[in-house]
């Protein structure tokens, strides 16, 4: 039990995170977003716009400089996120270890599964278009031959769910048919209409 002393951060222009549709006004909020949205921040989150925000608005020029140097020397990596969390001291050591383990666990996943997890995450945020694009890219990838029928079926199911959420019902029907076919079921008109009536556009994780 403790109280975290907040820095004086008079942010004039907040940092907008489009995927979450929120503006960030403090280093603590930034850390909270990073910690609770690893699948969002693991790809291209630390960019020049974020560095400018750290430097000019949060008045953390040393952190921005450290991140810049890291990117110049090592390129983009998960270490950048840990540098931010460590520097802001909003999370304690135990929490940082937990976050690091979570990132490592995601990175250990086969590429298609990691990408599917990101797509599922975006679906959860209501970004159906983006998530559908990722599912489709996975299906079109070079390593699609190694996918199990169940995995393919779940991808098609999720594409169908995205279409359904976007009110594109014909495309959703076709995707559900593919999902059923991959799962080894025969598809009849009755099956599809009954599925449509029951469907609440759930995705398979």
């Amino acid at each position: 039990m403790s109280l975290i002393l907040c820095r004086q951060e008079s942010v004039q222009t907040p940092y907008y995170i489009e995927e979450l549709n929120i503006h960030i006004y403090s280093s603590q909020e930034l850390c909270y977003v990073i910690y609770n949205n690893p699948l969002l921040v693991m790809e291209d989150f630390v960019d020049e716009r974020l560095l400018t925000f750290l430097r000019s608005e949060l008045k953390m020029p040393f952190l921005a400089e450290r991140l810049s140097k890291w990117i110049a020397g090592h390129g983009l990596s998960d270490e950048l996120l840990l540098i931010i969390l460590q520097d802001c001291t909003y999370y304690n050591q135990q929490e940082l270890i937990r976050f690091k383990q979570e990132l490592a666990a995601f990175r250990k996943l086969p590429e298609e599964e990691y990408k599917k997890k990101r797509a599922d995450y975006f679906y959860g945020l209501g970004l159906y278009g983006r998530s559908r694009t990722i599912y489709e890219k996975i299906l079109d990838s070079n390593f699609r031959n190694r996918f199990t029928p169940d995995f393919k079926s779940s991808l098609w199911n999720n594409i169908a769910a995205c279409h359904a959420k976007l009110f594109c019902y014909p495309q959703a029907l076709r995707a559900y048919e593919c999902a059923w076919r991959e799962a080894g079921y025969g598809v009849s008109e009755t099956d599809v209409s009954s599925h449509k009536s029951r469907s609440r556009a759930f995705i398979k994780g």
Partner: protein, 402 residues
Amino acid sequence: MDLCDNYTQLAVLGREETWSLPTVICRKKSTEEWCVGEEAYKSTLMGEGVIVDKLLSLAMKDGTSTIMGTKYEGAFLLEQFLQRAVDLVRTEYPETPVECLVISLKKLDRKLMDILTGCSTALKLPRERLHLASQTECFVFYVLNQRRDVWGGQVGMFSLSEEDLRYYELKVIRGSKKLTVWAEGEELEEGFNLSVLDTPSGARMADQILCACGERFLSKKIFSSIFLTGKGFTKTDWAPDFIKQICGGRRHVFTESSLFAFGAAYKGEEYGRESSPCPVTCICEGKLRSSVTMEVMKRDVKTQITLAAVGESWYEAKSVLEVIPDGQEDLQFIITSEQDPRQKRLIKIPLEGFPKRPNKTTRIRIAVGFSGENTMVLKIVDRGFGELFPMSGIEIRQEVRL
């Protein structure tokens, strides 16, 4: 500036002469023109204007004065007086802006202090350059700006004015890094009207009264020096026995009729300094006698943050900070008394009514102020957590007796 109900004195650092004027204001009958001090008396005697006196008392009791059919509030009259009093100095130093104005008051009354700070605009001074201090504190600053042997031991002072007879005392405790000064002053029941000094028998009686006071305060203690101030001590030949008494025991004895005004000027100099080579903690009227701290995590290290320190003027002691509770459902303030630093008092304020949110997603603004030497006023506000968890606007206001 030493501001009293009867008189006002102004001093400028580095200048021996002072300005002294009665605290009165006069409005011309024909036009809304104001004059102060002796000029006000003159104008009234000539039948040109209407005079108002006891300006501090009038302002403090929300009083008004009607002059030529116009009702003026006491606070307004006091502001007009101050403006003209400060202009006396400004006309002699037209090229030099007032760096800082310290007003010395006999009693630190909250209402009067609010009125005076509200006068900063009329005085053409930014609020942060206008300060208030008790006469006791100005006495401390005056004494500490004298040679070291003057305040090596205890220092006593008698102040005899038309208003009262007062006794002040200070003691300096030298620490390795700073000086701590304890000072106090009290009004004596034996006070007398200065007009008694006009007759030989009255003067003899006054001398006897002072001797009795001297006996009471100065015996059994070792004093380095004794100061005499106030209009009553402009001349001391009426009190030969008292002077003989206080000059005994190898004490330094000084008379300075504008001691509080000079003390205020020295205090003003202190405000202008970036840092003092030997900081002074002054504990007297108007100063906090307890410190208020909080335990917080700063860059992952547990540390105590001071919200108000011993020796700070309660009127100016204000601090604001923001914290985020990590598993904590209350705020804890540690009160430490200067008299017994080992004895700490813990004040817990539960965050009642604050919205339930995930851990570490409630930013709390804590504003600390004081409504008196012994009363801390806390304002605790829910600031939410940005757009992730918007603020609720809930706030807790609590007074804590120190």
